[in-house]
Each structure stands twice: as C-alpha cells, then as structure tokens.
Symmetry: C2
Subunit: 122 residues, 2 copies
Amino acid sequence: MAPQPLIKSRQTEKIINGVSTQVICTEFSNYIFIVLTQYGKIGTLISITPDSRSGDISSSMFTTKVLLGKDEALTHVYAKNLVTFVSQESGNRPVLLGLALKDSSLETMKVVKDMIKSCQVW
Amino acid sequence: MAPQPLIKSRQTEKIINGVSTQVICTEFSNYIFIVLTQYGKIGTLISITPDSRSGDISSSMFTTKVLLGKDEALTHVYAKNLVTFVSQESGNRPVLLGLALKDSSLETMKVVKDMIKSCQVW
C-alpha cells in the first residue's frame, strides 16, 4: 500500500512596510487553515463558510464567525476579502482564518493575498 | 539583521490499530496549535486555556471550550488528557486543538500523546 499523504502545509514570509509578515496555509479535508500574522500570534480566529446554495450564479455568499478574539465588524470584512477566493478554489471548503495584522491598508491586504496564493495547498 | 524565524510546525504519521493517524503541531506566540486526526479533518476545535492562577501548586486547572463541532462532555476530558502537558511545557500557553479520532481507547490516546511529544515545537 502506498503511504498516506501527510497533511499539506506551506508557509512564506515577507517584510511589508518594514513589518515581518508570516503566512501559513494547511489543508484539511473539511477546512483550509490559514494564519496571517505580523505578531507571531494566531490572532482573531474566524470561520468563513460558504452558504450551501453557493457555487451556482455570480458571487457566492459566505458566513463569517469569530471563534476567538474580538468580534469587530471590520474583521468580517477583511476575512471575506482575504480568503473568499481560497474557498472558491478549494471546492467551496470553509476556511479557518487566524488574523493578526498590525496594518490593514489596502496595499498590505493585496500583498498578503498574493502571499496566500503563493502558499496554495488546496 | 538575522532573518526572522518562520512559524515552527512539525507533523508525524502512524498507523494505530490499522487506522492512519496524523498529528501536526504548530507554534504561535500565543497558542500552540495541534491537530490529531484520523479523517484528515480538523474535527472538533477546542481551546484549552490554563487558569491564570495556575503554575504554582500541584496540578493546574484548565478551561476547555469547544469552538467548532459537537460539544460533548467527553471531548473536554480527552482534550485535557491529551494536551495539558503541552500547555505546561510551553510556559502555560493555551492550546488550540483539532480532534478527529475514530478511536478514543486508552491505548490510542497513549500512542497519540507520544506522537504529540515527537512533534514538539514549543
């Protein structure tokens, strides 16, 4: 029998505006787990779940829920903005996201999103 | 300047009673993240947090909370049994545990605990 594949995990690091930024993506069968951190922390933990009717027309809908940390309106916006594409690309799998960014500027978000793409495990 | 260390993550795999079992441990500054899985899933997600007064006399106390999945009494027992030592060894850091075991026999628990020890990232 061939050996079972191990859990796929990739990470990358970049300095964004002088701040060391780490991205780690790990694939589970029922979740993609992603941490985006500028503090080395997991930070706010958010689940991003596609609604069951998604995948048909135009942009699908997502439910976001803060599991750990401060539940702020903007956190939900950032979470959707950052990882909706991961769910879509991974067969509508939910995403578990740890978010600990000092800087939430559009420019930083764009770079972080590219970092996620470079750690594709799905 | 020396390069920042990347996020430390280790994993291992073992066949326990014919069931492929994966363990992955990842270190964050505020959490140790551990997944124990026999399904490739994250499974039930539990936070195990040492009470603030812990660390002084005898065995410290822990608060467990199910963040995702079914909240069953035994889940809290298994979680404490499996990862209390991780928190103690890592300077009382909380543990975020994904638990997806088919088999919760004492024998399996013992092997899984040894697997966690072999993936020490703290």
